[in-house]
C-alpha cells in the first residue's frame, strides 16, 4: 500500500489500540478522521512540533472532543511530546491523555501552561478544553478574531507576522448545538477568512444514524451565513480530494471556510458505519479483524512502522524551517518598526504595560448615586487606551452594560470593540478562544446576569481551562425592575460562586470596582465574573480598593460588636444605613464582602478578626439565600422569583429596606441573648485544610464555604 495509506492505517489501528487498551473511549471518529488528520498535519498545517508556542503556528481544534485520541496520536507521531506511554495511559488516573482534551496537559493540546487540578505541571500552549459539543468551534471563532486583530495591528507589507489558519474539526453534535449557529453567524458576518471548519459528516450520532434527528441541508445553511463551502465525497479513501479542498481554502479570501467531509465512522472495523463504534472499544476480535483488513499485524499493539515515523519526522524539519524563517523576518521587523515590535513583544510575553495602573480612576468623595454598572463602564473606558490588549464587547447591550461605542472590530479589525449580537453563549466561547490565543489579549464580555444561564458552559470552561477572561454581568438583581422575573436573577450569583476556580466579585463602589478590575487583570490564568447593578447605588465612603481578601471591615463602632451586618454590592449601603439606626443601642460592625470566593481562602485568623466568636451575623444580598449559611446566622435574601415593577418598589416589597434589616437585626440579637451563637468557620477544619499539601500554584479558588476539612474530605484537590 502507498506510504500515505500506510500512515492512515497506522493512525486507524493506533486509535483502536488506544481505546481497547483503556477499555473505554471513542474509537469510531478517530478511525474515520485518520485520512483528514494525516493530510492536514503532514501537508497543510504550518507548525513546529518542537516549539508549540510559536505565535504564528496554525491552530488545530478538536471540537468533537471525544475524538481526542486522534489529536493525541497526531501529537505523538509529529513528536510534540505525547509519548507512547501517554497513549497507553489514555483515560487513566492523572494521565496526560484524558477522555476529552484538557488545556495544558500536553504540548499541542491548545491549553495554557497551568498546573492541572491535581498538582502535576505541564507546559503547553494556548488552550482551551474541548469536549462539551460546540465549545471548540466557538473557541475557533475567537482565535480567528485574535488572528485578524493582530494581523491588522502588526502586519506590514512583506511582513506577514500573523498569517496562519485556524482549523477546527467538528461533528454532527457541534452542528446541532445552538452555539454552532451563533459561531457561524458571527464568523460569516466578520468574514474571518483564516477560519476553516471541517465537518466530520459520518452520518451518525450516539443514538444512531443522523436521519433519526437531523435533516438540515448543512452546506446550504453555511452558505446562508456567507461561508465558502466545499464537499469532499469520499473522505475515507480520496486523500487528494481532501488535500485539494484544504488548498482551495487559500484561493478564497474574505470568507470563512466550511468543508463537509463524508467519512465512515469506525472505518476498517467490521462495525464500520455503525454508532456501535462511537463510544466503546471494538473488542479483541474485531480489533484483530480490523488490523488484518487494514494490512497491519493483528498480533501487535501500538505499532508505528518506521516508514511512517520518517514521514512524520519530516514535519519536524519543515516546522523548524518555517519558524526560523518567521523569526528572521521578525528581527528585520524589529529593526524597521521598533515601536510596533516593542508593543508586539510585550503582548507576546503577555505583559501589562508598566504604567497601566495610573489609568485607574479615583473616587471623588462627592460621588452621586449611580448604578455600579456605570462604575464598571468608567473603569473600562479608562483602561481601554492604557491596556492595548483589552478586547471585547457585549451581547447587544453595549449601552446598558456601560461599554461605550468606540470603533468597531467589524469596520476595521484593528479596533478592539466587538458587537457580538444577541449571542451570549458564543460570545463567552469567543472570549475563551481569544484568551487561549495567548498573545497578550485580554478579552471581556458583558451581558445581563440572568443571561449567564445562556452561556454557562463557556463560563465554566474558562475556569476549567484557567483562562483570563473578564465576564461582566450587569442588571444583577430584582432591582432591575420592570422587565420582571424573567429577567431578574435569583440563583445566578450562587451558580457562578459554585463553579470551581471561578472568582465572583460584586463591588459596591467605584473603589471596589477598581479593585476588582485590578485584581482580575493581574491574574493571567484566572477568569473573573464581575457583578454590577442596574439601579443607582448610594455612595458609601471609605470602601477599599483592595478586594484581594474578599471581605473587610467597612464600619465599626469599636468594642466587641453586638451584631455584624455583612453585605455585597448594592446592599452594602443598606447595611451601613441599618447600622446607623442600630447604633444608639448596639455596637455594630459592617463588613463589605465583594468576593466571597477569595474570603474562603483567607487564613482562619483573618476570618476570625472579621467575625469574632459569639457575635451574631446578619447578611444582606438581593439574591438567593443558598450558600450564605456558611457566612451568617440569618440572611435577608430572595428565595422566590421577583416581580415586574419599578426597581425600588420591588426591593421594598421584598424587604430590602432599612426598617426591615434593623428589625431582623434586633430579632437576631435578642434571640442570641438566650441561645448559644453557632460558630462559623470552625477552627479545626481551617487547620486541617492548612495542613493539606497542595501546591499553592494550583490557584484553585474553590467555593468551599462551610466549615469542613477540605482535602481529606474530598476537596483534597482544592
Amino acid at each position: 500500500m502507498s506510504l500515505d495509506q500506510n500512515c492512515v492505517n497506522t493512525i486507524r489501528c493506533l486509535a483502536a489500540d488506544v481505546v481497547q487498551n483503556a477499555e473505554s473511549g471513542h474509537p469510531g471518529a478517530p478511525m474515520g478522521l485518520a485520512p483528514l488528520g494525516h493530510i492536514l498535519w503532514t501537508r497543510i498545517m504550518n507548525f513546529n512540533p518542537a516549539d508549540t508556542s510559536w505565535p504564528n503556528r496554525d491552530r488545530y481544534i478538536q471540537s468533537n472532543g471525544h475524538s481526542s485520541v486522534l489529536l493525541y496520536i497526531l501529537l505523538h507521531l509529529s513528536g510534540s511530546g505525547c509519548s507512547m506511554d501517554d497513549l497507553q495511559h489514555y483515560r487513566q488516573l492523572l494521565c496526560r491523555t484524558p477522555g476529552h482534551p484538557e488545556a495544558g496537559l500536553l504540548p499541542g493540546v491548545e491549553g495554557l501552561p497551568r498546573v492541572n487540578p491535581h498538582g502535576r505541571y505541564f507546559l503547553a500552549f494556548p488552550p482551551s478544553h474541548d469536549g462539551p459539543l460546540g465549545q471548540g468551534v466557538g473557541n475557533s471563532v475567537g482565535m480567528a478574531i485574535a488572528q485578524a486583530h493582530l494581523a491588522a495591528r502588526f502586519n506590514v507589507e512583506h511582513f506577514p507576522v500573523f498569517d496562519h489558519y485556524i482549523y477546527a474539526v467538528c461533528s454532527d453534535g457541534d452542528m446541532m448545538e445552538g452555539i454552532s449557529h451563533e459561531a457561524a453567524s458571527v464568523a460569516g458576518h466578520l468574514r474571518l477568512n483564516r477560519l476553516v471548519w471541517i465537518y466530520d459528516n459520518n452520518g451518525h450520532t450516539i443514538d444512531g444514524p443522523t436521519s433519526l434527528t437531523y435533516s438540515d441541508d448543512i452546506v446550504a445553511r453555511f452558505q446562508s451565513y456567507g461561508w465558502h463551502t466545499q464537499i469532499v465525497e469520499d473522505g475515507d479513501r480520496d486523500l487528494s480530494a481532501i488535500q485539494r479542498a484544504l488548498e482551495n481554502v487559500r484561493l478564497v479570501p474574505n470568507r470563512p471556510h466550511f468543508i463537509s467531509l463524508r467519512t465512515t465512522i469506525g472505518y476498517g472495523s467490521s462495525k464500520a458505519g455503525s454508532e456501535k463504534t462511537h463510544g466503546t472499544p471494538l473488542g479483541e476480535e474485531d480489533l484483530a479483524e480490523t488490523k488484518r483488513r487494514l494490512g497491519m499485524d493483528p498480533s501487535h499493539r501500538f505499532v508505528v512502522p518506521n516508514a511512517v515515523r520518517e514521514v512524520y519526522a519530516s514535519i519536524l524539519e519543515k516546522g523548524r524551517t518555517k519558524q526560523a524563517a518567521w523569526q528572521a523576518m521578525l528581527s528585520q521587523y524589529s529593526a524597521q518598526f521598533p515601536d510596533k515590535f516593542r508593543e508586539l513583544e510585550r503582548l507576546m510575553h503577555n505583559e501589562l504595560p508598566p504604567d497601566w495602573e495610573a489609568a485607574l480612576p479615583s473616587e471623588n468623595p462627592e460621588e452621586k448615586p449611580q448604578g455600579t454598572r456605570k462604575m464598571s463602564g468608567i473603569v473600562l473606558e479608562a483602561l481601554f487606551p492604557a491596556l492595548s490588549g483589552l478586547i471585547g464587547g457585549s451581547a447587544d447591550l453595549a449601552e446598558s452594560t456601560g461599554i461605550k461605542r468606540n470603533g468597531s472590530f467589524q469596520n476595521n479589525p484593528v479596533n478592539r470593540l466587538i458587537h457580538f449580537g444577541v449571542r451570549e453563549h458564543v460570545m463567552m466561547a469567543i472570549c475563551n478562544g481569544i484568551s487561549s490565543y495567548r498573545v497578550g489579549l485580554i478579552p471581556f464580555a458583558s451581558t445581563f446576569l440572568i443571561f449567564a444561564g445562556y452561556c454557562l458552559p463557556s463560563v465554566r470552561l474558562a475556569a476549567l481551562s484557567s483562562l483570563r477572561v473578564l465576564f461582566i454581568f450587569s442588571h444583577d438583581s430584582v432591582g432591575l425592575g420592570g422587565d420582571g422575573p424573567t429577567h431578574q436573577p435569583i440563583e445566578m450569583l450562587e451558580t457562578l460562586r459554585s463553579i470551581p476556580k471561578m472568582v465572583v466579585i460584586r463591588p459596591c463602589s467605584l473603589n471596589e470596582t477598581v479593585g476588582a478590575y485590578r485584581w482580575a487583570l493581574m491574574r493571567p490564568n484566572q477568569p473573573t465574573s464581575f457583578i454590577f447593578s442596574r439601579q443607582n447605588v448610594k455612595y458609601v465612603s471609605e470602601t477599599s480598593r483592595d478586594i484581594s481578601r474578599g471581605a473587610y471591615i467597612l464600619r465599626d463602632t469599636g468594642g466587641n460588636p453586638d451584631i455584624i451586618l455583612v453585605g455585597t454590592g448594592s446592599e452594602v449601603p443598606l447595611c451601613v444605613d441599618a447600622a446607623r439606626s442600630l447604633e444608639p443601642g448596639l455596637h455594630t460592625r459592617v463588613i463589605s464582602a465583594p468576593a466571597l470566593n477569595l474570603f474562603d481562602k483567607q487564613p482562619q485568623e483573618y476570618k476570625r478578626s472579621l467575625f469574632p466568636l459569639g457575635v451574631p451575623v446578619l447578611s444582606v444580598e438581593a439574591s438567593c439565600c443558598h450558600g450564605w449559611a456558611s457566612y451568617s446566622h440569618a440572611h435577608v435574601g430572595v428565595d422566590s422569583f421577583g416581580l415586574s415593577a419599578p426597581g425600588e418598589e420591588v426591593l421594598k416589597f421584598l424587604g430590602f429596606t432599612v426598617d426591615n434589616v434593623v428589625a431582623k437585626a434586633h430579632r437576631l440579637h435578642q434571640w442570641y441573648q438566650t441561645h448559644p451563637v453557632p460558630t462559623l468557620f470552625d477552627e479545626p477544619f481551617g487547620e486541617m485544610r492548612a495542613t493539606e499539601n497542595i501546591p499553592a500554584t494550583t490557584g484553585t479558588c474553590t467555593s468551599v464555604t462551610n466549615p469542613e476539612p477540605a482535602a481529606p474530605m474530598g476537596a483534597g484537590v482544592s
Copy 2:
C-alpha cells in the same frame, strides 16, 4: 382612513400610550407589529376570547417577550379579560401586565392557572413565560409537537379534533440566539406543518441596525431547514400582503412556515426606524406628534374608537361560533368513538388514570448494584404504557439515560418517544411547550447533568411558569469516570437547587426512584429535576418509597446518636458502610436526603427529629460543598474539577471511601467533645417562617436552607 387602518393606528397609539404612562417599556416593536397583530387576530386566528381554554384554539406566542404590550392590547381589544386598568398598570407592582408576559397572570397569556408568586390568583390558559429571547420559539415547537401527536391519536376522518395552528412572533434576537437554530432544525426535521413563525424583520437591535452584528440570509437559512418561507416586503402598510402570506400557510402541507415581515420599528414616531424606540417611552412631544401623524387626537390617551371596538367585538362572535361547532362535533365524536373520547376527556381534564400507580415497579431484596439511571429507566419503562400522557425522550443519549428505543415520534406522531438530537436547550424548551399545551401531556427529557448548563434558561422558565416537566439528569458526578472534568458536574446540583420552585431529587435506590416519579407525576404545576448516577450503586435495603419530606432516617443504632451521617443518591451506601464501621464505638444515624428542597419546607419538629440539638452532622455528596452548610457541620464533597479515570478510581482519589468518611466522622466527633455543636435550623426562624401567611397553593419550593426568617427577610414571597 380605512377601518383596518383605524384599528392599526389605534393599536400603535395605545402601545405608545401604555409605555409612556408606565414611563418604561418597549414601544418600538409593538408599534411596528400592529398591522400583523390586527390581521392575525381579526382575520386569521381561530379562538374564543370568552373561553381561552378551548383545546383547539390557535396558539399565539410573543417570543419577543419585550413586545408584551402588543399582546396585552390585542387581549384587551378582543375582550379576553385584559382591562384598560391592566393596560394602565403595565409594569406596576402586582400588575397583570408585567414587562414580559408571565404565565397565568392574564387569560390569553399562555400560562397555567396558578397563584402568581405574590399570592394573587388569576385564571389563565396554557402557559409559559416568554421573555428571554428564543424561549418562545422553542415553546412553539413543543406546542406543535403536542398538536401533531394529539391529532394523530384522536383525529378521525370528518372529526378534526385538533387542527389548529401555532403562531409565534419573533425578532432578530430570537433569530440570533442559538436555540432558534435547534428549534428550527427540529421543526423542519419533524415537518411540523401547523407551526408558523413570523419574523419581525425591522432591522434593529438594541445596539442599532442589525448590520452591526448580522448578515445571515435568514430566508435561505430556513430553507436549509426544510421550511416553507415567504417574504412580506411592506409589513407597515400592505395589510393584504400580510393576510395573503398567512393564508398561503394553509396551502403548503408537511412543512413549518417562516414569514419574514419587513416592518419599521416605532412606526409613526418621529424616531421611527431607530433603535431609540426599542426600550424607552417616546416622550410626550413625540407621542403627540405620532398621534397627529397617525390621525389620532393627541389630546387624549388610551383611546379606542367605537368603530374599532365593533371590529373586535366581531371576533368574539366568530370565536363563540367556532368553538360551538367544535363542541357539537365532539359530542358526535363521543357517540361514535366512546373509547377514544373517554381517553381524550381524561387528558383534557389533565387526570392520571386511576390505576396508574399499580404500574410502579417494586424492589427485589436481592437487587444487584446498578446505576440509579438504570433504575430511572426501569420506572419510566413501566410507566410509559400506563400513562398515555407521558411523552419525551433524550438529547442523543437514549441508551445512557435509560430510555429504551420505542416507536419514534418522527416515524409516526402517534408515538411518544422523541429523538431530540444533540440539542439540550430546545429539548427543554420543547418540553415547556408541551406542558404548556395542557391537554394532559406530561413531558420528560433526559441528558447528562453537566448539560443542565446547556439548557438552564428553559429549566428555570419551567419553574417560573409552574410547568410539570420531568427533567432527567444522569451521569451526575465525577463517578462517571473517563470522560473527565469537562463532563463531570460539580456545581450543577447546587445550581438546580438554587432555582426558586425547582425540586431536585437524587434517589439512592429503586424505592426512592419510584417515590421521586410518584411525587413529580402527582404535581401538575411543578417541575422536577431527577438526578441519577452513571456508575453502579450498591443496594441499600429499607430505603423509602415516600420522599415527600425530603429526608428520613434510614438507619439508626438507637439512643441519642454520637454522630449523624447524611447522604444523597450514590453516596448513601457509602454512609451506611461508614456507619457500620463506626458503630462498635459510636451511636450512629444515617439519613437519606433525596430532596433537600422538600426537606426545607418541613416543620421545625420534623427537622429536629432527624437532627437533634448537639449532635454533629457529617454530610457526604459527590458534588460541590456550597449549600451544605445549612444541613451539616462538615461535608465530604468536591470543590475542584474532577479528572479523567475509571469512575471508582476518581471517587477514591477524591476521598469517597469508607476509610475517609470514617476518619472524618471521628475527627468531627472528637472536636465536638470539647466544643459547642453549632445549632442547625435555629428555631426562631422556623417559627417566624411558620407565621408567614402565604397560601400553600403557591407550591413554592424555595431553596431557603439557612436559618433565617423567611418572609420578613425578603423571602416573604416564597
